[in-house]
Structure formats: C-alpha cells, structure tokens
C-alpha cells in the first residue's frame, strides 16, 4: 500500500518566513487514507475484481463437522463449462499445512475433516459462476465420525479423539502462595462460574483478493495482519521459496484478529501457480467467511476469590476451559494470556489458575481483539462486584483497596511501573458524576436503571518470551519529502498516520512532506503483526529510531551548508536553520538534492527488539512476561426492562492510559470502536452452533450493534509517559473492548440485583437472569 500527500511547493519560496513549529505527535492530523475511503475510491480486496480478474476460484468445503475422507471425485466438476481446473491436496507442492503457532491445519484436507469450514478442493474457472457450479459438483465421499460439539463431550470418557494425543490441546497455569490456606482464613469466599460466548470478528471487508504467478514471482493482493509471516506460511504450504512470493496488502476494512490466520492466500496461490500468467480472483460471501474463519474462544471460567473483612483480597482460584475448536490457531497464546490476566489489575497474594484448551469440532478459535484477556476481565470484574456486595462495601472503594499501584506486581510476578489504573478509574467516575444520575425515580415500575464500572489491565505485545520485533526504514527523497517504509499493516486503526507523524516529528517535516509505504513484502521490512496492541509501541519505536538517525544525517549536511555545528541547528517545517540566527537557513529539499548527489544515503533502518521472558511453566511466573502494561477504566449506565429483559446502554465512559496519544482523534476512534464492539459482545453477539454447524452465518442473525444501540461514548485519553514507548506512547487497540464488557455487566447487576454470568445478555438471557429461569439455557446446557 503506497500513500502519499502531494507536496505543496508554495511554502518553499526562499523568502517566505518559516512557519511556526508544528508538532505532529499529539496532533489530530487528518487521516491520509481518509479521503479515498470516504469518497469510495479506495480499493479493497473485493474492488480488485472488476479491475484485474481473469480467472475465478472457489473453495470446496466439508459437508461434515467430523469425518474421514474416503474419496474425492472431481470428474463432474471438470465437466462444467468454463471450469479449467480442480485442485486437491495432491496438487499442493509443499507441506499443505498452515497454523500460526502449531502447524496443524491442512490447507486442503486429504484424509480427515475436523470442522465444516475445512477446505478440500479449489476450483478455477473462467467465471465466478462457473467456479461455484464446479464447486458444487465436486463429489467427496466421507466416513462420518462422532461430532464433538461441546467441551463436555470432548473431555468425556471414551470421547472420539480429534488428534491421536487426545482432545486436550494444552494447559497453562499460575501458582503463587498458598491458596488453600488463604481461602480457609478468609472472611468471605465467593464462587461463581462465567460462560463467555463464541464471537465473530464481523469485519465489513469480507475476505477477497487476487493472485498472479508470472513464473518467477507469486504476487498476492490479500489483506492479512502480518504479511511477512503469511508469506512464510504460504511458502511452506505451497513449497515455494519465500523470495518468490510477494504479498501486497490492499486497503483493508477491519481485522480485529480475524485476519491473523491464513484465509484465502494459499488457495489463491495454488490456483495462480496452476494458471501461470493469469490473475486469479477469489472472494468469500459473508456466510462462507463466517463458516471458514476462526472465532473468539468461548470460555467457561470457574472463579473463587477470598477476601478479609476489611476488603483486602486474599486468594483466587480460577479454572478455565477454553473451546479451541478444530485446530490450534493462536490458542496456546490465548490460553497463556488468559492465565496471566486472570486477576487483572488487582493485588492477590495467593493465586492458582489452570487453563485447559479443549478441541471440539467447532470452528477453530484464535485471535480476536482482547485475546483471552477480554474474557478474563468479565470474570474478575464480575467477581469484584460480587465480593463487594458480599462484604457490603462500595464497589469503587473495594476496588481501590485492591488495585495495584506503581511498583506492585501483577499475577505473573512482574513489577509494573507506572501503574495508572487508579487515575483512570478516578477520571471515569468523575466524568460520570459530572451529570446527575437520574436513578429510578421517574421510571415506571417495570424499568430499572443501574450503573457499573470496570478496571482492567492489558499486557502489550506477544510477551512470554515470544520473539517480538519491528523493523522500519525512513528515507529522504530528493524533493525534500521523507518516506517511511514499514511492514506493518493498516487495517483501519490508523497505523499509517501514526508512523508518519512519529517520523515527521523527528525530521521537522510537515505532514504534507511525509509519505509512507506499508505492508508490501517486496518493499518493506518485517514489522510484526498488527495485533496485540503492539504497532504503536514496536513499529513506532523502530520508526522513531530510524528517523532519529536520519535526522542526524540531515543535520550533518545542514551543518556544512550553514557553517555551524549540527547542535546549533533546528529542523522545522521543511527548513534547517541556525537556531540563534533563523535567517541562516537552507531548505530540507536543498539538503536532500545536494546530499543525494554527493553520495549521502539519507536513509536509515532500525530494529526494535526488546525482550520478554518466558514464564516458568509450573508457576506461570516471569519477571517480564510483557513489555509494558496498559490500563483503563469504564463506567456504564443501563436501563433494563425488567419484564422483557431488554437492556439499553444510556451512557458509557471509557478512560484509557495510552502513554501519549500520537493522534488523539485516532485514539478516540479506537476507544469508541472498542466500546461498540464490547457492547455487541455484552448484549448481542453470539455464534450459535448445532453439532458443529454455525446456525447464524450471516448478519441477519449474527447481531452486531447499530448506531441506535450505542450511546455517545465519552472517551477520556489519559497520558502517563511510557518510558519505553516512542514519545511516551504505547497503544490503545484492545483495552477499550476489554473494559466495555464488564462495565456493562456491572451496570446490569446494579439495575437488576442479579449478577450476570453468561454472555451475551440479550433480552431472553437477561429475562432468565431476572426471573431465575435457567432451564434450556443454551450455554449451561452445552457445558
């Protein structure tokens, strides 16, 4: 993706005064990709179709959630007019396997299918219609196996095994102190079980893209979240050297973790390799997208917390079962993140956490905004409300008594400094109290109002010793502009602006003189994934390091031109001038033209690679599990119809410490979006399965919020410089969703007097909670 803003020449007149300094970091510079998106000229994956597609692909998927494949007959498909080829596992040149952490997911199944989204063949035809007709004519013979529809079935004695080693994929634990003793000595012990649901990413921009093989290079225009890793996975599966694969990210409409796993890339690559010289297009329908893609893990969280009479938390024992679905995806990392966030931002001296990942024949589960930390916040914040009530303490006061402070440790034993959770909570509650709380006075007897809060923490980056690094390159061009090259992927979150603003700040260039090239494996170096809330911190640091070095090169040349020491030079608005004598100046453009002519490189690359430390497996302890921690607090106010169970969120306040907001408007956008997605998770969104089949594979019945469901979100940006972040920034991506869900549940608890423990709290589930009607409850029934 290449974005540039046209350079304006008028401001370069030699006699014009230099404009005052314009600090790009902290400024809501207009999104450079905004105009194209708003006017509809931006080209998303599906927009590439009419422009370039010559042939079309379609994917044959399993008819069974669990079965052995006994035969694949492509004869009838090949007879369809326009069908040029049907390709199966036998046509794949490499390992035919992908998977982000464990390589366990066949690109095209050969012997066995483990969920209904498993792909079996790729059909290539002259038209999309013919490709789909051909798809429907591929005959696959199956020997059905018992479908493992629930975690309970998966771990039952004698259950059919999805894998030779069994259905338990793995476990993660925390052991700290003596939980048994501490619970025995507690004044109150509170226990409850939480069920979180399967959630779909529901991004607008359904998987679509093109592939082309010219005999030398396989070029894929497909949206992912980590183009360099995707290239490695495609190379392995297809048996091509990585340097023969080029991935270019088209404009991308949302990801939320849903593009971390491989989607259409390998099918497109295979089709392109078989049809040299032709551009192949493939796009899913919404239904296929939902049936094929991984989901957010549904968790069963059994929580026991103890506290002293004065409200001091003593111990926590937490057992988690996680529905991993058919393949591992990022499940192991999600389990680890769940374990390390099990007690949130609270001081709990004695902790036992056991997280078990269990395979079923549901869709694989993997990355989604919040990544395990989100589900655990629902449980620990739910427990904070329950314990406060058991002790008859104010919910805020109880939390404050137990929140960690700067220098304290989180559950994994890592010291965190600074800790701003108390400040975030104060800000959110102060904002809430700016307006009088209307209470229940003027409501009819069947309506109840309530408000609630949440306090959450989030470890940034992959953590746990997993290699995590970003590279960046910044170059001066001979027209005086600078280009940032990053492998980081813009998925809508604002990465392009963030990187340009960080580099422009150091180079003293206005936004109009900045360009960026992102997410093209040919032109950019690896910058890790756009996930884990990591790009601002990781790639932002790499960009800052490269820009700082480049600044030194520019200053060197400026020093020669201005005949002063580089220390005495200011870079501002495209000019270099002697700080004490601004008339002694030279334009950056002139420095670049001359510098490049004289052989200066005027480019700099940087690697940012901080290290985290793998946890001790037996205890889950690590002095540095995560590179840094983010904090946030929410307050939500709801109105509940006690007769029908309908819940309306009336106000929602979200305060997040982002270190430093590089682009405040983008940060607010992330907060509002996270709250919207959190509201959906709290109240509406739920993938429902029946024997492994998704019953609501479309946006008619997979309900996501509309603008009418969302109150004006009151976003509060809190800034405590992160000592390790670029200009003190660390990031904002995931925490707003994590904080939103438990705050809404807390408000429902306050309104109804009943503590929610199942998601989503749609009208029926809220009605069941209010009326203690538990039978037929789908979540209780499945586990």
């Amino acid at each position: 993706m290449i974005q540039q803003v046209t350079t304006t020449e008028s401001d370069k007149a030699q006699d014009a005064p230099i404009a005052p300094p314009d600090h790009l970091v902290g400024k809501s510079c207009r999104r450079i990709d905004g105009k194209e998106k708003v006017t509809g000229t931006a080209l998303y994956g599906a927009d590439l179709f009419p422009n370039s597609a010559e042939l079309f692909a379609s994917v044959v998927r399993s008819q069974h959630a669990h079965a052995n494949i006994t035969a694949i007959d492509t004869t009838k498909a090949l007879e369809v007019a326009g069908v040029l080829g049907v390709y199966t596992h036998a046509d794949v040149g490499g390992t035919n396997i992908h998977g982000l952490i464990r390589r366990d997911h066949p690109a095209l199944a050969s012997k066995r299918v483990r969920y209904l989204g498993d792909a079996i063949a790729v059909v290539v035809a002259k038209t999309e219609r013919a490709a789909k007709l051909g798809r429907d004519r591929v005959e696959v013979s199956y020997e059905p196996l018992p479908v493992i529809a629930t975690m309970e079935q998966a771990i039952a004695d004698g259950a059919c095994k999805l894998y030779p080693e069994g259905n338990v994929m793995g476990d993660k634990r925390i052991r700290k102190g003596d939980v048994e003793l501490a619970l025995a000595n507690s004044h109150v012990v509170v226990t409850d079980t939480f069920f979180t649901q399967t959630v779909d990413h529901a991004f607008l921009d359904i998987e679509a893209g093109t592939g082309h093989w010219d005999g030398q290079v396989l070029t894929l225009y497909v949206a992912g979240q980590w183009v360099h890793e995707e290239r490695r996975l495609i190379a392995l599966a297809l048996g091509l050297p990585v340097e023969q694969i080029r991935i270019i990210q088209p404009v991308t409409g949302g990801a939320f973790g849903g593009r971390e796993d491989i989607s259409i890339q390998i099918y497109l690559g295979l089709a392109a390799l078989k049809h040299q010289g032709k551009t192949i297009a493939l796009r899913y329908t919404r239904s296929e997208s939902m049936r094929a893609r991984h989901k957010r893990h549904a968790l069963k969280i059994e929580s026991t917390f103890g506290a002293k009479a004065d409200g001091t938390l003593t111990a926590a024992r937490i057992v988690v079962h996680s529905d991993e679905g058919a393949y591992a995806s990022t499940g192991i990392a999600v389990m680890r993140k769940a374990a390390s966030h099990a007690t949130g931002p609270y001081r709990v001296p004695n902790v036992e956490v056991d997280v078990y990942g269990v395979h079923t024949n549901n869709n694989p589960t993997g990355a989604m905004r919040g990544f395990g930390a989100c589900q655990m916040a629902i449980a620990y914040e739910g427990m904070m409300d329950r314990i406060a009530r058991a002790l008859n303490m104010d919910r805020e006061a109880f939390r404050r008594k137990n929140l960690i402070q700067s220098g304290d440790t989180v559950t994994t034993g890592q010291h965190v400094d600074p800790v701003s959770i108390g400040h975030c909570l104060s800000k959110a509650i102060a904002k809430f109290k700016e307006r009088p709380y209307p209470g229940n006075d003027k409501l009819p007897d069947y309506m109840r109002r309530g408000w609630g809060m949440s306090a959450i923490c989030f470890g940034l980056g992959y953590g746990d010793g997993f290699p995590d690094c970003s590279r960046a390159r910044v170059e001066m061009n001979d027209d005086g502009t600078a280009t940032v090259y990053t492998g980081g992927v813009e998925v809508g979150q604002g990465l392009l602006n963030t990187m340009m603003q960080i580099a422009g700040e150091d180079l003293g260039l206005p936004m109009e003189h900045m360009r960026i090239v992102a997410a093209d494996t040919e032109l950019t170096d690896e910058s890790g994934s756009s996930s884990a809330t990591r790009q601002t911190y990781f790639t932002g640091n790499a960009v800052r390091m490269a820009a700082s070095e480049l600044r030194e090169q520019v200053l060197d040349i400026a020093g020669i031109k201005l005949k002063v020491h580089p220390h005495e030079i200011t870079l501002q608005q495209g000019w270099a001038f002697e700080t004490a004598k601004p008339d002694n100046r030279v334009s950056i453009q002139q420095i670049c033209t001359e510098g490049l002519t004289r052989g200066y490189s005027l480019k700099a690359t940087a690697l940012f690679k901080p290290r985290t430390i793998t946890e001790v497996p037996q205890t889950g302890q690590s002095p540095r599990a995560f590179i840094t921690y983010l904090f946030g607090a929410h307050v939500s106010q709801v109105l509940v119809n006690m007769e029908t169970g309908e819940v309306k969120v009336e106000r929602h306040i979200a305060a997040h410490d982002v270190g430093k907001a590089v682009n405040p408007q983008s940060v607010e956008g992330q907060i509002v979006g996270g709250v919207a997605q959190g509201l959906g998770m709290a109240l509406m969104e739920e993938v429902t399965y029946k024997d492994g089949r998704i019953m609501n594979p479309g946006l008619t019945d997979y309900i996501i919020p509309t603008i009418k469901d969302l109150p004006p979100v009151e976003a509060i940006i809190v800034e405590h410089d992160d000592p390790g972040g670029p200009f003190g920034a660390h990031g904002v991506g995931e925490p707003p969703l994590i904080g939103a869900v438990p705050a809404i549940l807390s408000a429902i608890y306050d309104a109804t007097g009943k503590a929610p423990c199942e998601l989503p709290m749609n009208p029926e589930r809220t009605w069941r909670l209010i009326n203690d009607v538990r039978e037929n409850d789908p979540l209780s029934k499945v586990f």
Binding site: Y446, E643, T644, E646, K648, L683, M684, T688, K690, M695, N696, G698, T700, D701, I703, I704, P705, T706, I707, K708, D709, N762, P763, E764, W767, R768, V773, E775, N776
Partner: protein, 277 residues
Amino acid sequence: MFHQPMTFKQALELRSELGADATVINGGTDVVVAMNHGAIKPTCFLDLSGINAIRKIDRDNGHLILGAGVTFAQLGKLHVRTLKEASLSVGGPAIRNMGTIGGNIATASPAGDGCVALLALGADVQLSSKDRGQRWIPLVDYFIDYRKTALADDELIQAVRIPYNPRSRWYKIGKRGAVNISLVCCAVSQNEDKKTQLAFGCVGPIPRTAPKASALLNGETLSAELIDDVANLVAQEVSPIDDQRGSAAYRRAMCSTLTKRLLTQLMEDNPKGDADA
C-alpha cells in the same frame, strides 16, 4: 424477463398470463435479499413499482384504504399508532423507503411487523384478478400456513382496509435498536364499540391473532383483573417454537407480558375509551 406495467390493469393482465412463473416484486426488500442468498432464482419478474395508483392512502367511509405499494416510510407518518410504530420498527430508513405493505403481506413471514399491526386492526385485504375481479377478505383468513396464503396465482394484492381511528398500541422485542428482526411483537387495537383485537408475530408459522383472548375483551371496559385474565389466556393460546433466535418459553412469556403492558397502557392513557387524538 422483466415486466414493468404502468397501470394496475396491465399488471393484472400480465399476472393472468404469467401466473406463478412471474415473481412479483415492488420494493424488492424481500425478493432481492432472497435472491442474493440463493434462496430463490427467479427468471421472470412482474414489477409493480411503476404503478402510482397503488401508492396512495385514501380515506373511505370511516376507513383508510392503503394501496399495496404504500411504503413503510409512508405508513410511518400515519396517525394509527400501532401501524405507525410497527412500520418505523422495520429495517432502517433505506428499507422503509423501499419496502411496501403489499410486499409484507405477500411474503407472509411470521415476523412481518406490518402484518401483525394490520391483524390487530382487523384489516381486510383486497385481492384482484383480471378474470375474477376483486374480492375483500379478512387478513386473518389470508394467512393459511407457513408462507402459504389465500392469494391465487392469477391474483395481486391491491389494497388493505383498516378502521380510520382506532386506539392502538405496538411493542416489538428484538435484539438491537434498528435493522431488527422481531423476537416477539405484539399489536393491540380497540375500536369505538370496544371491539379489541390482539395480534402477535414470531409465535407460530404465520402472523396471528388470539381470538379466544380477544373475545374476553369484547365490549368490556378494561380493568386490571380483566387484563390479567386475558394475558394468562394469551400464554395458553399462542404456540411458539424454540429456534435459534429465542426459546418458546421466553416467547410465550413475552406474549403474556406484552399483552398486559399494552392493554394497561390503553386503559391508563385513555380510561374513557376515546379514540386517539
């Protein structure tokens, strides 16, 4: 083939000629969606959207005659409260600008909000054919079974007739604030001689009334005790099923709850039983 007659007479001729082979379409908010999902693959269309005569709302002798092509957006401006609110609860503005009441009746979905409001209003529907002329039948007799109606292959829905000035209420439970499919919806209306009708959506194969419960109300002045009795009877009378949108138990309970809530509103807002202002 795409036929777009400009008069209703031409439409009837085409309908007579083409019969069931032609998919009748107006706003397309049901037909086009079904096509996109691959549920139907029509080869021939009879498009009524060019006929201005069926887009009108007329007043006739204490009744409103709604042309089959009247949109939900138009209905959203009516004073008949249950139909106005039901119409405004359909889809979003774009759907309401295109979707028509005739289409809602033709589709005959149990979740058809417009149908439920019309049933409570005791609407009659006018079915017309080239050879057999026009007939008015009560809407309640029009719905036969799941997506099965009294409309013959040579007939088109021409209009709907409702009382001009009933007192009425509407409530729809869905999972979100807009573009919202009913989990359960309830409409109630009472005319000047206190004839009261209850109707429900999503509690059976068709949009339905509750004749036994409604009969208890007829001619009676509303009281808390009567309302309780009616609400209890409603719960016995409806026959919802479990599906992935909601359980039968919840829907049954909600029919009762909404009946009670809406009748209570009718009683409290206007104890003397006057028509809505």
